[in-house]
């Protein structure tokens, strides 16, 4: 019985790693595609899309890990986002918070998707605000965190709209194709 549970855990973990790996790969390739079309990463936030989708499909720990890994790996492989100035670490914090919160709310607390996605986006903005406040203190910058957040949110508005449209559609399409990934279904079988 213990061996059976251990095998099931291993299978769940293996599936999660494989799914997170493929979504992470999309997190690397999508920004390259967007840049090829000349669409700015800061405007459309292409790296956010697969990572947020992963937040709805994998456990919180894997979602947070994926959120941290993807910006750093992209930085190592393509040079963007840069490690210095520290854009990649900031994005890692943002994505980890966003995907982690989405996973906790959707998979652990089983809240509806329409409530989870705005909460995740607000968590992202909160992390940005905290980072801006810390940076302002560190570099003695007079402009406040509120102005920075206002600008960042306004610039990335098309990306936020894209997420609000694309993420639920994608998650629903994947859950339809792989029913095991639905949180309720997982509880029933687990």
């Amino acid at each position: 019985m213990v061996a059976g549970a251990s095998n099931r855990d291993a299978l769940v973990r293996a599936r999660e790693l494989a799914l997170a790996g493929l979504l992470g790969a999309l997190g690397l390739l999508l920004p390259i595609g967007f840049h090829a079309f000349g669409w700015g990463g800061k405007i459309f936030l292409p790296m956010h899309l697969p990572v947020v989708v992963a937040g709805f499909l994998v456990s919180p720990a894997t979602a947070v890990t994926l959120g941290v890994v993807v910006p750093f790996l992209s930085s190592v492989l393509t040079g963007m986002p840069p490690l210095a100035p520290p854009v990649a670490p900031l994005m890692a914090l943002e994505l980890a918070a966003k995907a982690g919160l989405a996973s906790v709310l959707y998979r652990s607390l089983r809240l509806p998707m329409w409530a989870v996605l705005p909460a995740a986006i607000i968590a992202d903005w909160a992390v940005l605000a905290l980072a801006a406040w810390l940076a302002a203190g560190l570099f003695a910058i007079k402009a406040g965190a509120v102005q920075y957040i206002g600008t960042a949110v306004a610039v990335s508005l098309p990306g936020t709209i894209l997420q609000v449209i694309a993420v639920p559609l994608t998650v629903l399409a994947i859950e339809k194709r792989v029913p095991r990934l639905r949180p309720t279904r997982r509880e029933e079988t687990g």
Binding site: A10, A14, G24, T65, V76, G79, M80, F139, I174
Partner: protein
């Protein structure tokens, strides 16, 4: 395993031949020195720049390649620097610090990444105690990126062959449908990959290769570079 994404530049050089762990040690020491060195007087940062230029020359990486890659950071570094010019004395000094240190640290990472394969750096990460899980997931992502890149190339080839004169609207619709299909197939593929991993003996923990001992000469080289950098920063700060 092929990798379509990398900043590696193939060369036969002493830096390319150095053990990646020694290079990471040297890079960490250098970055710490850049962050510690004062901006006024500017000679410590100037000497650190000379040291970095020597390392780039040793790696036989053309300076124009590093400069071209640094160009992509012009907006990210240049905008805050320019804005800081309109502030007070403290803001202007902070802007200078930000620009100089960012450029030096970015150039250091570029030289490290140009002389070391990304997959090798991930393998180094996998052996570190706290961040090993990041390295393992990173390897999965690299494998996934290879798979997806091949799929994108195949799709594009088929597209060019079947609809060479498609309008932009048709292309965009096709691109959206292909992306959705790619995501769904990725999820379905993960099921098969997961099952295959368990069949091959996966027990919730990925195996890591046994580390080879770091040659003493390589360790000394990395340590020496880090200590010289830190020494320069320390002397600059002390004086």
């Amino acid at each position: 395993m092929p990798h379509h994404l990398d900043l590696y530049i193939r060369r036969e050089s002493a830096l390319h031949g150095l053990d990646p762990r020694a290079k990471v040690l040297a890079a960490v020491g250098f970055v710490a020195a850049v962050l510690l060195a004062p901006t006024r007087p500017s000679w410590p940062l100037g000497l650190l720049l000379m040291l970095l230029i020597c390392a780039t020359a040793l790696a036989r990486i053309p300076a124009r390649v590093v400069c071209r890659r640094l160009l992509s950071l012009v907006v990210i570094i240049g905008m805050p620097f320019l804005l800081s010019r309109f502030g007070g004395e403290a803001t202007r000094a902070a802007g200078e610090q930000f620009a100089v240190r960012s450029l030096l640290v970015a150039a250091t990472f570029l030289v490290l990444l140009a002389s070391t394969r990304a997959i090798v750096l991930l393998e180094v990460t996998e052996r570190l105690p706290v961040v090993s899980v990041f390295g393992q997931l990173g390897e999965f992502i690299l494998r996934g990126a290879d798979l997806l890149a091949e799929e994108v190339v195949r799709t594009n080839r088929a597209w060019v062959l079947r609809a060479p004169s498609a309008t932009l609207r048709v292309r965009l619709t096709g691109l959206t449908q292909a992306s959705m299909s790619l995501l769904s197939r990725a999820a379905a593929r993960s099921e098969r990959v997961g099952a295959a991993m368990v069949l091959r003996g996966f027990q919730s923990k990925l195996p890591t290769a046994t580390p080879t001992p770091l040659p003493r000469s390589h360790l000394l080289a990395g340590l020496l570079f880090a200590l010289i950098s830190l020494g320069l920063a320390g002397v600059g700060r002390w004086r």
